[in-house]
């Protein structure tokens, strides 16, 4: 247990490290004014899920995914088209993710996000559920139907 706690940074460190980037992303997606509410919502969602994290890796990918979901929800509430792909962060440049990105580009957004977070970033279903605002079961289903779809394509 001490190990798990040691690898997850205090929320303050996580927040100060990623706040500016999250705000930039939300301003790009929603414009300056709507970004403020979305910023608060993003970090509140992250905070509520934070004590369920099992390790402190890929927190940047995790919080940017949450921000994407919040932006999509905001578009939806405003009656705007919201079916754009959640843009998963590309800057980590992990080889596993790069390969997956190539494979998963054509999956539906939820399945793609679930597959990439699970197999590219090794997040568990609790974390993925928190990022996608769904349940761990739904996240597991999205990942496995994404994988099935990829398998069918590979055949």
């Amino acid at each position: 247990m001490m190990d798990a706690v040691a690898t997850i940074p205090p929320f303050e460190s996580f927040y100060t490290e990623h706040a500016a980037e999250v705000l930039r992303l939300l301003r790009r997606r929603l414009g300056r004014e709507r970004a403020d509410d979305a910023f608060q919502e993003t970090f509140l969602r992250a905070l509520r899920a934070y004590d369920r994290l099992r390790h402190g890796e890929h927190l940047r990918a995790w919080v940017l995914t949450i921000a994407e979901r919040v932006a999509i929800d905001a578009h939806r509430r405003a009656g705007e088209p919201a079916d754009e792909l959640p843009e998963l962060p590309h800057l980590d440049g992990r080889p596993a993710y790069e390969e997956l990105a190539f494979l998963t580009d054509s999956l539906p957004p939820k399945e793609r996000a679930a597959v990439v977070l699970r197999y590219g970033y090794d997040l568990d279903y609790e974390q993925i559920a928190a990022a996608l605002e769904s349940s761990p079961d739904a996240a597991r289903q999205a990942a496995s139907s994404g994988i099935r779809r990829l398998r069918r394509r590979a055949q």
Partner: protein, 186 residues
């Protein structure tokens, strides 16, 4: 680009209102320099002199959980009571304490320490006796040294049998300042 101050503050306030924090902290200015203070849902958990914030945050997270955020609003009551104390308007604190992680002996000693009144002193030996172990004066000294909430739990009021100040986690100068504020020494 940095996050605008008002947006940052709004999030920190909202986090407190949402009740989703394991601990909130802030740096409180005082006569004795900046104090890093942390509260949990159980009460005041830490007051630290000369804190290294990163190290202190990690210590708080190990104690209470990882959702630790600087959130000044959550420290309003503690800040007010400390301000009043340093201004000489308050002689006893009305704050709940979170003493999680303390050994049973330390809890007993800190409980007795809380009863030593404003403006008075007691000795390490007396405190040991009241905590049920007259021979444990040295162990009491250790508990004082590691007091998680100095000032509020008044370890500055514990002195040597000869009346010498002996030691203080925040430095002897601060112990003297506190005792002078309370009129316990001239």
């Amino acid at each position: 680009m940095t996050v605008p101050t008002d947006l940052d503050r709004r999030f920190r306030d909202a986090a407190v209102r949402a009740g989703a924090l394991d601990a909130a902290y802030d740096v409180i200015d005082s006569e004795l320099g900046p104090l890093l203070a942390a509260v949990t849902d159980r009460g005041l958990a830490r007051i630290t002199y000369d804190a290294d914030p990163q190290q202190e945050l990690e210590r708080i997270a190990r104690l209470a959980g990882p959702r630790v955020l600087r959130a000044p609003r959550a420290l309003d009551q503690a800040r007010r009571e400390l301000d009043d104390y340093f201004a000489g308007r308050r002689k006893a604190f009305d704050l709940d304490l979170d003493l999680r992680g303390q050994a049973p002996f330390a809890v007993a000693v800190l409980g007795e320490l809380a009863k030593v009144p404003y403006g008075r002193t007691s000795t390490y030996g007396e405190l040991a006796t009241r905590a049920g172990n007259p021979r444990a004066a040295r162990a009491v000294g250790m508990v004082m040294n590691r007091n998680p909430v100095p000032i509020v739990l008044p370890c500055h009021r514990i002195v040597g049998a000869s009346g010498s100040l002996v030691g203080y986690g925040g430095g002897l100068e601060r112990k003297e300042q506190l005792l002078r504020l309370e009129g316990a020494i001239l």
